[in-house]
């Protein structure tokens, strides 16, 4: 048996269903984002943690030039260490049949018997290599898929200038390469980075590592901190060319994964708050109108004995029903979205199996958030009317008082027609509501700007990095620092039009107890290809006197220009020296220190400092250049400019456009929800005067000006606010994503602002179109008979 008051509730709900629905859609959008982010976060985190635990992913990683095997025993003695694994790891150039481009490869040793102690791989197809057979290898699954490699297919690794055939006997996944990205890349490219696992004894032979190793992983006892182990490990490895140990947090695959999880958590917090806040405001506006219209009904209900509390609840229930309906829709939508988002994630983050996680807690949290938003919105609206004594509520509310609006007082009055004055005065009568409507619409524009400007910023990063900073076609890195001979060898390759030596060294920069291991690059002052350019597009003048640091690096080390750093070389005779920081540069990728070439050479007192080269090549001769590079023994890695740009474009096509579309859709839901409800409330409040105007002979178009003029003004005011808000949200996001691996420049194209503005205008047009149908059905006769 439904109580009479509840029946009234149902009928009220039905009568204003379109407004309720518009609000429910705003709630649903926020809850969908909340649920989708929470499910993705939980699923990815659980999947990752179980995978790491099962495959014994290391806690500390280090590499060195060559460490004798007997040192391994002392690794066990490091503080807090639970288990130790040593390996031979080598970077190589790969020659994959069917692909002319040289591909970067990494060869990792497997124990000659048994499974790896740490960082175990998961076999996806095929079998483990036979330790007796030198050519048998496992390959990471994504690379095999990228190149369409089957079991039994050959791949050639260039080892010491000799092509050595590897035969694929199995495909695997590794916790170290969940996000398989080559150093210096922004995005993982399955075709450009292959990881192979093969029997240790053969790999050691090929790289002169018999009786030794060059890669160390440690796992820590529960609760042990990584820092003491890292400090002692660095000391232990120093005589063997140790390059500095890193904790798991800095392991590159883990870092990207963690970064994504942090982003998801941010989204799970911020976006739903915006959506629910706007929904609360809309509920407040609609309820205020509803109780105003039902003022006399409330009086009657109180007169016959309903309590304030019961009546208050009655109206709050209306808000709760609307927002819980939105919440339920949002939960369903969010669950669907999370499946789509997770399958996109699985393209870039590779796990053996995905553990989908959702919890009743999330659903409860979502529903509670909806309930909170509705009570928040409804309470203030209902409170005043419900408190009125019945006798007072029986009397009509005091007529609205108006005053001349500010704009008119400023002297614009004589330029305004009466309908425009009506619009302005109506707005200025409820400035708080007008302001909230503006804020609501502005958030919608802001979300669009932020989403699409994030893309602009990413494109700017690519453009700056690959067209201004690195203008070469190919970047070659060497195994060891080379002298002039390597330069001439590269220059003599037919098709190579330009060669620029990249001089550098690996070093540790120390400021008190803060330190970072970085590459110090020495760039030629007249460099044409690889340059040092700040986000302001200004090439940096290399200063003979000191170091120039990436601004991010200076921040991390806590130094300012003019201060001194301790520089410890990690190669050659490992000299140390204090150097003055002369300037910082706002570069966007990685963190580096830059030094004038002669200064670098003096510091190392070594003739060979060329760690690689930047090449310009003739596009017609691309294939022969690639073939020559594959055959050069000194070449450890080859990065291709066009491949990086292509993988970026693929990423955009697969990923970003979907995300943009979803954001656009959700932002439109807000815009429509706010504008449509504003228009409907306005129509409800003003139907009497609009009908009076129709009676006086105003056409539909002319009264449309009064109603939609208000919307147009709100929308027009909201657009610039929204664009500015979107830009500052972007600035916040850029700052939040400022990392040592890359930093996004703060860029928003005019097109981004224009399309957000157009989208808001379209939302307004749609709302106006829907409301105009109601406006055209105004009952002229009815409004004349009644006192408002």
């Amino acid at each position: 048996m439904i109580r009479a008051l509840d029946r009234k509730l149902l009928r009220d709900l039905w009568r204003v269903r379109s407004m309720g629905l518009a609000i429910a859609v705003v709630v649903a959008s926020g809850i969908a984002l909340l649920i989708a982010s929470l499910i993705c976060f939980d699923s990815l985190e659980t999947t990752r943690d179980r995978y790491y635990a099962r495959n014994e992913f290391g806690d500390v990683f280090a590499n060195a030039k060559r460490v004798p095997r007997w040192v391994a025993a002392s690794l066990d003695e490091l503080p807090g260490v639970d288990r130790v694994d040593t390996r031979v790891v080598a970077g190589v150039t790969l020659d994959v049949p069917g692909s002319t481009e040289p591909v970067n490869g990494r060869l990792i040793s497997l124990p000659d018997s048994g499974r790896p102690i740490l960082n175990d791989v998961t076999l996806r197809s095929g079998r483990w290599p036979d330790p007796g057979r030198a050519e048998e290898a496992l390959v990471n699954e994504r690379f095999a898929q990228g190149h369409g490699l089957e079991l039994g297919d050959p791949v050639f690794a260039v080892i010491n200038g000799r092509q050595q055939q590897l035969e694929i006997v199995g495909t695997v996944l590794s916790p170290e390469y969940v996000y398989a990205i080559a150093g210096g890349d922004l995005l993982p490219d399955p075709k450009r980075f292959g990881v192979f696992w093969m029997a240790r004894r053969h790999l050691a032979t090929a790289f002169d590592m018999e009786g030794g190793f060059n890669d160390i992983s440690l796992s820590l006892a529960e609760g042990a901190s990584a820092q003491p182990a890292i400090a002692e490990l660095d000391t232990l490895l120093e005589p063997y060319g140790g390059l500095g140990a890193i904790p798991r947090a800095q392991q590159i695959s883990h870092w990207y994964l963690q970064n994504e999880l942090t982003g998801l958590r941010g989204m799970a917090l911020l976006m739903p708050m915006i959506f629910l806040g706007i929904a609360a405001f809309l509920l407040n506006v609609v309820l205020r109108r509803l109780v105003a219209v039902q003022r006399e009904q409330i009086a009657v209900l109180k007169a016959i004995g309903y309590s304030n509390l019961r009546l208050g609840l009655h109206y709050v229930q209306w808000a709760v029903v609307v927002s819980v309906l939105g919440g339920v829709l949002g939960i369903a939508l969010g669950a669907l979205m999370s499946a789509g988002m997770l399958s996109l994630y699985m393209e870039y983050f590779r796990f053996p199996d995905l553990i989908m996680r959702w919890s009743w807690g999330h659903i409860l949290a979502a529903l509670l958030a909806c309930g909170a938003a509705s009570v928040l919105g409804a309470y203030a609206a209902v409170k005043s009317v419900v408190k009125l004594p019945p006798a007072e509520a029986m009397r009509p509310a005091l007529p609205d008082t108006f005053r001349v609006s500010l704009l008119e007082r400023l002297g614009l009055r004589r330029w305004l027609t009466q309908p425009l004055r009506m619009v302005l005065r109506n707005l200025s009568r409820r400035p708080a509501r007008a302001a909230m409507s503006v804020v609501g619409i502005a958030f919608s524009a802001a979300i669009m700007v932020m989403a699409s400007a994030a893309m602009d910023s990413l494109e700017e990063l690519m453009q700056l990095q690959f067209n201004v900073v690195q203008r070469q076609d190919v970047t070659v890195t060497f195994f060891e620092p080379e002298g002039r001979a390597a330069f001439y060898e590269l220059a003599s390759v037919p098709g190579v039009t330009e060669v620029e030596p990249l001089n550098g060294m690996s070093a540790r920069l120390r400021n008190g107890n803060r330190n970072r291991q970085v590459g110090i690059q020495a760039l030629q002052p007249d460099a044409r290809l690889q340059r040092v350019v700040g986000a302001d597009y200004q090439p940096v003048q290399l200063d003979r006197a000191g170091l120039i640091l990436s601004r991010k690096l200076a921040d991390v080390l806590g130094v300012e220009p003019g201060e001194t750093l301790r520089v410890e070389a990690l190669q050659g005779t490992r000299p140390e020296q204090d150097m003055v920081v002369s300037a910082t540069v706002d570069d966007l990728m990685g963190v580096s220190a830059y030094l004038e070439p002669d200064a670098l050479q003096r510091f190392l007192s070594d003739t060979a400092t060329m760690s690689g080269a930047a090449l310009g090549i003739d596009p017609a001769a691309r294939e022969s250049v690639y073939a020559a590079l594959k055959g050069m023994p000194v070449v450890a890695g080859v990065a291709l400019q066009h491949a990086m740009l292509e993988s970026f474009e693929t990423f955009v096509a697969e990923n970003v456009n979907t995300q943009l579309a979803i954001n656009l859709l959700f932002a439109m839901a807000i815009a429509f929800g706010v504008i449509y409800n504003t228009a409907r409330i306005s129509l409800s409040e003003r139907s009497r005067e609009l009908a009076s105007m129709r009676v006086m002979g105003f056409t539909r178009k002319e009264i449309g000006v009064v109603l939609f003029g208000e919307l147009a003004i709100l929308t027009a005011a909201a657009i610039p606010v929204g664009l500015a808000l979107g830009y500052s949200m972007l600035a916040g996001m850029v700052a939040a994503y400022e990392t040592e691996l890359f930093r996004m420049p703060l860029v928003a194209e005019p097109g981004t602002f224009a399309s957000a503005s157009v989208a808001i205008a379209v939302a307004m047009g749609l709302s106006a179109l829907v409301v105009r149908r109601k406006l055209n059905r105004l009952d002229l006769v009815e409004v004349l008979k009644t006192r408002e």
Binding site: P399, D400, Q418, S692, R694, V695, G697, R700, V781, L784
Partner: protein, 247 residues
């Protein structure tokens, strides 16, 4: 006192502002048919002052709405200066109201966000040859209240603003629906005086509907309605002054 029991005299070309012939109006209220008008013929002579008298539910408001182009009859014909309004479309009716008709309503229907003067200007801005707004307010004796908002005025004052608004366009026809219905006698008489003055000095064809028989004495002609029909129709030989009536 001339009296005829049913219908109006034969329409005289040129002398009539509006004439209605055998007009019926049936509303569908859910499953019930309501016959608001059951074959009514009425003429409004140019410059005449007519009172349509009847109890509530007699159909007088429906009649006024049809005269004013706010509603269309179910059957019958309505002519404005010989032009058939029943054939007019929505846009033509809007233009008819805009150019020819001034309305005054029981609840004034002023725009609350506009001052007295601006309420009048609302109409003068869309009219072809209007009175200056200030003059219209002068006629109803509100020249000194022109910058007040409706919420700052009494009911009688608001109604007089409504009259100023209605006459400012120099309407051919002034239609008033219970203009004193929400007012006490003193302010009601002020309002009637204003209407009387507009009719006398500007020659607007005026029709007032009311249930208040006392008001009938100020008219040239009185048409009584009951149950959707004209029950009685007569002309007053002399019009009483609005200031003399009592109720």
């Amino acid at each position: 006192m001339n009296e005829s029991s049913n219908g109006a005299a034969t329409p005289q070309e040129g002398a009539l502002a509006v004439s209605m012939r055998d007009v019926t109006k049936v509303y569908q209220m859910g499953e019930v048919e309501v016959h608001a008008l059951r074959g009514v013929s009425v003429d409004l002579e140019i410059g005449g002052f007519t009172v349509l008298l009847g109890p509530s539910g007699s159909g007088k408001s429906t009649l006024l709405n049809i005269l004013g182009g706010l509603d269309v009859p179910t059957s019958g014909q309505v002519f404005y200066r010989g032009q058939d309004l029943t054939r007019a479309d929505e846009g033509e009716l809007t233009q008819y109201r805009r150019r020819r008709v001034g309305f005054v309503f029981q609840f004034y229907n002023l725009i609350p966000s506009l001052t007295a003067r601006e309420n009048v200007e609302l109409v003068t801005e869309i009219s072809e040859d209007p009175l200056p707004a200030q003059e219209a307010l002068d006629i109803v004796g509100l020249a000194d209240r022109s910058s007040h908002f409706p919420s700052q005025m009494s009911g009688g004052e608001q109604q007089r603003v409504a009259i100023a608004r209605a006459i400012a366009k120099r309407p051919d026809i002034l239609l008033c629906d219970e203009p004193t219905g929400a007012l006490d006698i003193t302010t009601g008489i002020q309002v009637l005086e204003a209407l009387e003055r507009v009719n006398n000095e500007y020659g607007a064809t005026t029709a007032i509907i009311t249930h208040n028989a006392a008001i009938a004495t100020i008219a040239d002609r009185v048409v009584s309605l009951a149950d959707g029909r004209i029950s009685r129709q007569h002309a007053n030989e002399t019009r009483a002054a609005a200031s003399t009536i009592e109720w």
